[in-house]
């Protein structure tokens, strides 16, 4: 009797040899390349975005009367971009001919180095950004007078006995220095938080892949 296609299908696949899954020998290499390429792409986009933002802000700052803030932001962010561009060049030096595990390990070392440098930089950059913000508004001219000078005059009218240092309220200097200190202390943490928002998923996949390969290596030994 002629068999129906349903029976041919069912009976044909009853034999165990038919459905053997192929070994995933090349999969880890493909995934490593995928993760690293994605990271490189995101890193480059990030640097381009910083350059774009700082340039645009520099132009805008002149129009809105806070050029000092624009210049400081631009210079600081340019230094950050140059440092990170040099770091990015380091990825190209990682030996792509190495085994998948070694390649990922080298990449992981590179990331740790990059994070470390940027964490230290953040402790300097965040206070500078804050100072740039303060100075930018301090030296903003309104009707021929700096906003900072107006503020001091107003404060002296309200508190005539206020202590001054180089013509600036001591308490104000104290507050600025304190905030800068806080930002310097927590700069690394803020950077880490920022980093996780942007690259968190990639780092998670990288960690997962490395753990997996480490497991495979221990199983094979």
């Amino acid at each position: 009797m002629e068999k129906s296609i349903e029976n041919i299908w069912k009976e044909g696949f009853l034999k165990n040899d038919v459905l053997v899954a192929p070994t995933l020998n090349n999969l880890y290499n493909q995934k490593s390349i995928h993760i690293i390429d994605k990271f490189k792409r995101m890193f480059k986009i990030n640097l381009i975005a910083i350059v774009g933002f700082s340039s645009l802000f520099l132009v805008v700052s002149f129009f809105i009367g806070i050029p000092l803030m624009g210049i400081i932001f631009f210079v600081t962010l340019s230094v950050l971009v140059v440092i990170n561009k040099n770091l990015l060049n380091g990825i190209e030096k990682i030996d792509t001919g190495a085994s998948c595990y070694d390649y990922l390990k080298s990449f992981n070392l590179w990331i740790n180095k990059q994070v470390n440098i940027n964490q230290r930089l953040s402790s300097i950059l965040y206070p500078i950004f804050f100072l740039a913000f303060i100075l930018g508004f301090w030296f903003k001219e309104v009707e021929g007078i700096y906003l900072g000078e107006r503020l001091v005059t107003k404060l002296l009218q309200l508190f005539p006995n206020m202590d001054l240092l180089f013509g600036l309220p001591l308490i104000g200097i104290g507050l600025v220095v304190f905030t800068m200190g806080l930002l310097a202390f927590f700069g690394g943490k803020i950077y880490q938080w920022d980093l996780n928002i942007v690259y968190g998923r990639i780092f998670k996949k990288l960690k997962e892949l490395l753990t997996d390969l480490e497991k495979l290596n221990t199983q094979n030994n």
């Binding site: 068999k3 296609i5 349903e6 041919i8 299908w9 009976e11 044909g12 696949f13 034999k15 040899d17 038919v18 459905l19 053997v20 899954a21 192929p22 995933l24 090349n26 999969l27 493909q30 995934k31 995928h34 998923r201 997962e208 892949l209 753990t211 997996d212 497991k215 495979l216």
Partner: protein, 163 residues
């Protein structure tokens, strides 16, 4: 991809992935490439799975999309590099199962249109019309009608081969 993820989330569905990949490839080498790419894509897109369908439906959907994409890429490449005569020859099966009837059925399935191949295989895997419709992106009624047509087509192809 952790081996845990592969073992728990892909391996239970390896059967249907293998069957689908075989229906869209003509050599063991291509089959392994397709299978690997499907696994890679499932792993890549696991975070996009938000329980809008069952995990198995999601896996079938990705498998089918990957197979169709790779097939399209391969066809485009062939149009540039290979003569029509050679392309025709390649539609013959270059690897085989130990069951002769299954070989004939697979050869017949490979002659179907790309989407029809997926529909008939999901049908043969006893998926409901509703689930097939979700995977393909149509209505269960359409699937019902289409399955009958495909079965008739397959019968004609198989009869022709057997005779």
């Amino acid at each position: 991809m952790s081996s845990d993820f592969y073992n728990t989330s892909i391996l239970p569905f390896a059967g249907i992935i293998i069957k689908l990949c075989r229906a869209y490839t003509n050599s063991q080498e291509d089959f392994e490439d397709y299978y690997q790419e499907v696994c890679l894509q499932i792993w890549r897109s696991k975070e996009n799975f938000h329980n809008q369908s069952s995990w198995s439906t999601w896996v079938y959907q990705i498998s089918l999309n990957v197979c169709l994409t790779l097939l399209k890429k391969k066809k485009n490449n062939k149009q540039h590099f290979v003569s029509d005569h050679l392309a025709e020859e390649e539609t013959e099966n270059n690897y085989a199962f130990s069951d002769e009837s299954l070989n004939l059925l697979y050869a017949a399935i490979r002659k179907l249109a790309e989407i029809d191949r997926a529909i008939i295989m999901l049908y043969l895997e006893e998926k409901s019309n509703q689930e097939i419709a979700t995977i393909i992106g149509t209505t269960p009624n359409n699937i019902g009608v289409r399955v009958n047509r495909i079965k008739k087509k397959l019968k004609i192809i198989l009869d022709g081969k057997v005779n």
